[in-house]
């Protein structure tokens, strides 16, 4: 019962925070709300026995990716959202996508089935701790996706430098 109440709190708060984030006119305020949202996501991970993921949520999303957002916003020098017609001219296309993705979400909610149960049981996590369990799984079973991740990161480095090359020389 207690868990249902807590989950209800997380669900309602996270959705309202997400709505607040996209409706703020001042982007810096959006970022502050987004920060609170990330903390809630981390909290939800804690309730799923996934403490390492909770830490990653804060370190990577709040500590790194949002900081990148901050830099971009400061680079663009946006204070208030601009309401110029050239930014809003594409709204019918956007509306089509919104409707389509809403349909998709509704279909997937009604077609919801539980996925196959994984190999790692809660008792395994209990034995070695969540981080070690993640490490073992990642570096033994999911070796290939892990190495591919490094290629993706490499693409990110090269892409950023190529894009900004004009300025750097």
């Amino acid at each position: 019962m207690l868990n249902q109440i807590i989950f209800g709190y997380f669900a309602v708060t996270m959705i309202s925070l997400a709505l607040i984030v996209i409706t703020r006119k001042n982007i810096m305020h959006s970022i502050v709300y987004m920060l609170i949202l990330f903390f809630h996501i981390a909290g939800l991970y804690l309730f799923l026995n996934a403490e390492f993921l909770a830490a990653i949520q804060i370190i990577v999303y709040a500590g790194a990716i949002m900081v990148l957002f901050l830099f971009v916003i400061m680079l663009l020098n946006l204070r208030e959202e601009l309401r110029k017609s050239r930014f809003a001219i594409t709204w019918p296309i956007g509306a089509i996508f919104v409707v389509l993705s809403a349909v998709m979400i509704i279909i997937s909610v009604f077609g919801n089935r539980f996925a196959n149960v994984g190999n790692v049981k809660i008792s395994d996590i209990e034995k070695v701790g969540h981080t070690v369990a993640v490490g073992k799984l990642l570096f033994v079973e999911y070796l290939f996706p892990f190495e591919v991740a490094s290629l993706i990161l490499l693409v990110a480095i090269v892409g950023a430098i190529v894009l900004a090359k004009k300025e750097i020389k």
Binding site: N26, M28, A62, G63
Partner: protein, 333 residues
């Protein structure tokens, strides 16, 4: 009822830790001025109370009564929030620090990761302050500082991977125990590279001299908190000093053996075993904080290009090398 009892115990622990730490923050400013004064052949504060010992109290009271100026056209909610974010990020890292055997507010498995996460959030306080102030100095200071903090965060995290490898845990209690049963009794010797990288990154991460470019009094006035006055300013200062205490504690716990004494020292001088662990912890902590003051008095401020070059071109390769060496050593042994 039981839950209420537990919560009140936690709250009491938090209040005790925070009051002790805030006391240390107040007197860290006093000793900083005294130590640096002596190193520069000056007296340091000596008017308020005997030997100037009441100076921090006077400073604290003054900051409460100072007028609080909010610049025109500043973003008020963000301007209000920035110092609170700073102090929250700095303070809550105290929750996972074991001050002596068995005393820790929250003994979670993630110890180190939590501290790293909180120190990465410190950048928000700085950027938001610089952005909200609507001032050129603050904006530039915030920007520089954010770039500095994120650059050194990478090497800070990487320098601790060697310790995690040796101890096999993030939990600071386990790390201290693993150290006391290791060959040297503390990790500063086998992890000498990691320790070096950690020290440099920790000083840069807390924006202390010689890496205090965000504040750089002589060129940026005071950097990101140029427009902050009164108690808001005091909160930023407190966050900086708490950050210093956290980083020093992390150095003590991860590299200097925490509250333990190496077994061979105990073998030579058995009477040292009678000294309680908290005394060792505090002595090592004071030594680290003294080191902060020492380099402040000794080294000139880095230039910004030198700072970035040091972080990206020297510390990151060194910390990766350290991980490689530690991994190989662990495979062989």
């Amino acid at each position: 009822m039981e839950l209420l009892w537990e919560i009140s115990i936690i709250v009491i622990k938090i209040v005790v830790v925070v009051s002790v730490v805030m006391f240390h923050v107040a007197y860290a400013t006093y000793f900083e001025r005294k130590v640096i004064g002596r190193m520069q052949m000056r007296m340091g504060p000596k008017e308020v109370g005997p030997l100037g010992i009441l100076q921090p109290v006077a400073d604290g009271i003054k900051s409460f009564f100072k007028e609080d100026i909010i610049p025109l056209n500043s973003d008020k909610p963000v301007f209000y929030l920035a110092p609170v974010i700073s102090i929250m990020a700095a303070m809550s890292a105290l929750a996972v620090i074991p001050f002596f055997d068995g005393f820790i507010i929250s003994n979670i498995n993630l110890g180190i990761l939590f501290i790293l996460a909180m120190s990465s959030l410190g950048a928000y306080g700085i950027v938001l302050a610089g952005w909200a102030s609507n001032s050129k100095y603050a904006f530039l200071g915030g920007l520089r500082s954010a770039a500095q903090v994120i650059s050194y965060e990478v090497s800070l995290g990487l320098s601790l991977v060697g310790v995690m490898l040796l101890a096999g845990s993030f939990n600071l209690n386990d790390i201290v125990e693993a150290q006391s049963s290791s060959v040297f009794g503390f990790y500063a010797i086998p992890q000498i590279l990691g320790f070096f990288v950690f020290i440099v990154s920790a000083v840069a991460e807390t924006n202390r001299p010689p890496f205090d470019l965000p504040e750089a009094e002589s060129e940026l006035v005071a950097g990101y908190f140029a427009e902050y006055s009164g108690f808001r300013f005091a909160l930023f200062m407190a966050a900086e000093y708490i950050g210093m205490i956290i980083m020093s504690s992390l150095a003590v716990l991860c590299f200097l053996g925490g509250w333990t004494v190496p077994y061979y020292v105990l073998y030579l001088f058995p009477f040292l075993g009678a000294v309680p662990g908290v005394v060792w912890f505090i002595l090592k902590l004071y030594a680290c904080i003294f080191f902060y003051y020492w380099i402040r008095a000794t080294l000139p401020r880095f230039r910004y290009d030198q700072l970035m070059a040091l972080g990206w071109k020297l510390l990151i390769p060194l910390s990766l090398l350290n991980i490689l060496i530690t991994g190989i050593a662990k495979l062989i042994i």
